[in-house]
C-alpha cells in the first residue's frame, strides 16, 4: 500500500520533498507486501491475512502525518516562533470558516509547501523557509489556500483509499494464484512460486502507483481552483507557481533588439519529451496549472 499523504512540491524538477515522502512510503509498502507474502507462505489463511492487511492500512493512515513530518524534516512551529505565518493562515481560515491547521516549517531554501493530516481538524500545513523568502504575502496566501483546499477535500484520505485498491488487487491475485497452483500440482518449486508471487505483487503495486499519481494530478488542479476561489486571486497563485518553478527567473529581461541577432527564435523550443516523466509525476506541469488559473482570472475580471 503506497502513497500516503498528498502533495508536496509543485513541480517536476525539484522533487526533493516528494521524493523523500515517496521513498519512505515505498519502503513501507514493500516491507508490508513482503510481510504479507511471508504470512501467506507460512500458512496463514485468506481471512487472517485480510484482517492483518486491513489493520496495517489503518495504521499507515493513522501514522501518515508523523511519517510525512519525519521524512521531510518539517517541524511544527508555534505562534511565538512565526507570528506572521500564523496570522496569514488565520486570516484565510477565518474568512472561509475552516478549522485552523497546525503549521510546520521546513528549514530549506527550496520553495515548497505541503499539507498532510487525517482529518481537516488534525491537519498540518508545512511551508519551507525558501517559500516565505521568495513569495510576497498575497502569493504565500495563494499557496496556503491551495494547501487548505487539499485538506478540505480530504485528499489524504482519497489517496489512502486509492492505495487500498492496490492492496486488494494484490490480495486477490495472491490467493487466486495460490488456488490455481494447487490444481496443477505441488511439485512446483515453492521458491519459484514465491518469486513469481513477489513479481506479481510488485507489478500490481507499480500499476496502482501510476493510478495514484494520475488521481493526485487531478486533485492538484482541483486544489488550485479552490485555493484560488478562497483568496479570490488566481493570478497570485499562478505567480507563486511560476516563482516556485523558477519560470519567473527565466522571464527575459534582455531587449528584443539585443537578442535579435542571436537566432534565438530559430531554436525549436524543447518539445515536451516529458510524457514519460509526467506519468510518474504527482503534479501537473506548471504551465498547464498557470494556464487554468489565468483562465479563471480572466473569467473573474
Amino acid at each position: 500500500m503506497p502513497v500516503y499523504t498528498k502533495k508536496a512540491p509543485w513541480q517536476r524538477r525539484d522533487n526533493g520533498l516528494t521524493a523523500r515522502i515517496i521513498v519512505s512510503f515505498a519502503v513501507l509498502t514493500i516491507l508490508y507486501l513482503i510481510f504479507l507474502s511471508v504470512l501467506a507462505y507460512v500458512g496463514f489463511g485468506a481471512i487472517p491475512i485480510a484482517v492483518i492487511a486491513g489493520a496495517m492500512i489503518l495504521a499507515q493512515w493513522y501514522f501518515s502525518d508523523r511519517i510525512v513530518l519525519w521524512s521531510t524534516g518539517a517541524k511544527i512551529v508555534s505562534r511565538e516562533q512565526f507570528p506572521e505565518l500564523h496570522d496569514l493562515v488565520e486570516r484565510i481560515v477565518a474568512r472561509n470558516n475552516l478549522p485552523k491547521p497546525r503549521i510546520a516549517v521546513v528549514n530549506t531554501k527550496i520553495p515548497n509547501a505541503f499539507a498532510t493530516g487525517k482529518t481537516p481538524k488534525s491537519s498540518i500545513v508545512a511551508v519551507t523557509m525558501g517559500l516565505m523568502d521568495q513569495l510576497d504575502t498575497e502569493e504565500l496566501e495563494g499557496v496556503v489556500a491551495h494547501e487548505l483546499a487539499h485538506i478540505k477535500n480530504r485528499d489524504v484520505l482519497v489517496l489512502t483509499m486509492a492505495s487500498l485498491f492496490s492492496t486488494i488487487a494484490w490480495y486477490m491475485m495472491r490467493f487466486g494464484m495460490y488456488g490455481g497452483m494447487r490444481g496443477h500440482g505441488r511439485s512446483r518449486d515453492s521458491g519459484g512460486a514465491m518469486a513469481l508471487m513477489l513479481i506479481v505483487a510488485i507489478v500490481t503495486w507499480f500499476a496502482s502507483f501510476l493510478i495514484i499519481r494520475a488521481i493526485s494530478r487531478y486533485r492538484e488542479f482541483v486544489a488550485d481552483r479552490e485555493g484560488a476561489l478562497i483568496t479570490g486571486k488566481p493570478a497570485k497563485l499562478a505567480g507563486a507557481l511560476l516563482k516556485i518553478s523558477g519560470t519567473m527567473k527565466r522571464m527575459p529581461t534582455k531587449d528584443l533588439r539585443e537578442v535579435e541577432g542571436m537566432n534565438a527564435f530559430f531554436i525549436i523550443p524543447a518539445l515536451s519529451g516529458d510524457a514519460f516523466a509526467s506519468l510518474f509525476s504527482t503534479h501537473p506541469p506548471v504551465d498547464k496549472r498557470v494556464k487554468k488559473l489565468m483562465e479563471m482570472e480572466a473569467a473573474m475580471s
Binding site: G239, T253, L256, A264, F265, E295, A298, S301
Partner: protein, 174 residues
Amino acid sequence: MFSISSSHVTLEVKLGLKVSGRCALAFKTVSGTFFYEMEQDVRRFLGSLQPEFDLAFRTITDSYGYMWIVFESKRIEDLLAGLTATGDIVAEKGFSDQLLAAVFEFANERQGGHQYLIYNYRRNNFYPFVPAGSKSRDTEQEMKMMAAAGEEMPFEKDMALWYPLWDLPLRSLG
C-alpha cells in the same frame, strides 16, 4: 496580424485595455541605396494616404539602429492597414529579414499605464509586454493579457521568448 482587429475588443471587455491609438513598426536599418529607396517608398506611400485616411506617422531611429515608424489614428482599422501595408513594402523591397516587430499600445483604463502587444516577425505571433518602471515588467498583467486573448490570436506560448522592448519610442517625441 489581423487577429488584433477582433481581439482588442476582448482585451477591452476583460481587462479594460483600450487601444491607445498608437502602434509602431520596427526594422533594422542598413546603409545602401536599396534600403534608402525602400525608405523613400514608405514615406511616399504614407504621405499619399494623408488626405483620405485618418493616419499620422513619424519616424525615429533608436540607439540600437532600428527605425521605428510610429502611427497614430483614432481607428484601429486605419492603424492596422497603415502598419501592415508598410510592412509589405519593406518586405517587397527585399528587406523582410530586417523586420523586427510591430507594437500595439493599449491604455489600461482600470489601473492606468500602458501595456503592449508585440508582434514578432520572426515567430509570426504575439506576446504581451507591460513595462513597470525601468527595466522591470509586470508579469502578472502580461499573463492576464495572454489569458484573455491568447486563444483568439497566434500567441507565443513560450514565456522565455517574451523579450522586452525597453524605452519604446511610441510616446516620446510627441
